[in-house]
Symmetry: C2
Subunit: 211 residues, 2 copies
Amino acid sequence: MSNVAYFPKPHVDQRPGKRERTKVANRQAILDAAREVFGELGYDAATVRDIIRRTGLASGTFYNYYKSKEEVFDALADDGARRFRPLLREQSEKATDFESFVRGAILAYFNFVAVEQESWRLNRPAGEQIPHARLTPEVAAVFDEVREAFARVLEREHAPPVDLDYLTSACIAVAREIGDKMLERRPVDTEGAADFAVKLILGGLPALPRL
Amino acid sequence: MSNVAYFPKPHVDQRPGKRERTKVANRQAILDAAREVFGELGYDAATVRDIIRRTGLASGTFYNYYKSKEEVFDALADDGARRFRPLLREQSEKATDFESFVRGAILAYFNFVAVEQESWRLNRPAGEQIPHARLTPEVAAVFDEVREAFARVLEREHAPPVDLDYLTSACIAVAREIGDKMLERRPVDTEGAADFAVKLILGGLPALPRL
DNA sequence: CTGTGATCCTGACGGGGCGTCACCATCGTC
DNA sequence: GACGATGGTGACGCCCCGTCAGGATCACAG
């Protein structure tokens, strides 16, 4: 007790200053509000003011953080990609061969989107289509990581060289599309969907034209 | 000669009346203008007034034909799907087995999009992403036709039953994605791209889980 | 040919979202 | 405690949206 009195806490507060804290809080509040608004109204119908209204901030404040509705949507995509990346990396590290990597990665992705959908695409007006995530930096990083993992694993297995760009794009397209369709079915069966996607890809791989 | 004089041409003009003709002309003019504007400004930046201005019509006239920018975009997608459908049908009719159908259909699609791109996506500002065609009636009809063709051909070959919805979605996704990537390469190689997509799908098919 | 009703083209208008900016409250710092 | 710096505020002008009353043109009957 007494010793703290002799050494009064100096003002070397570890936490960043209040300005900095409200800044990250505001940015996060806008992001959260955007998630809700996109989920409720759909992307097209949502306006910047719908989003900012929900935070209680003034309209001008929005533009201190994001330039437009598109940019905040991209930030949400980036956020998702950033959270998914470690899951993907984990799969690529523990994979022993191409099959186990593809299966692990796709299953991880399907589980990820299933949880995401649960958490914030709660009550979407029927027939609404959410736009696909655009090619933001973090999303691009995930795609690159898939590509590199493919290159690494195929190299290790001395597989014949194929068109990596086409292969990567095709695999991602299949995963996205089957993932979307999977989410529309009840109950959501991530294992079944993953089994389908994986077998399609793995079956097709040995037949691909070589470079 | 003389007989026509005895039977002067009555006013049963085969052509529809002037009102009807200007109607289809206006509708077409708006569609053409929209193609141009979307191509030059990109979909997001384009406004209804950009489109209607190019036709010389008044702004209100636009709304006599389409409800919104989205609807005119859908009409363009419908138009493309309507023109592609006979090409697809031709492939499904002359196909002797699953392989020849998939190859014919995908090659037809790749050639189609290559020509389309040539014709109206002339000078697109770099980095612009055109939104994927939404699920308009004609587009849905094309998808259904693919699905039915798959069902027919697989049935004929006594192939084991698979998840047709997943298979159709996956094949379309692969075709779309490889098609997009193909268009970004110079020179555009439709045969090479088709070879890749076809081999991936055909190789994967026998490995798919059975129902 | 002319009158009449139907059609639809026109452009001005109110509504509303957009992005900005001068103003001011609050924070960090000396 | 004074004083810049930072950043929140909301009113403002701009532009696009979709509508609608007015008017021009067309189809058609007499």
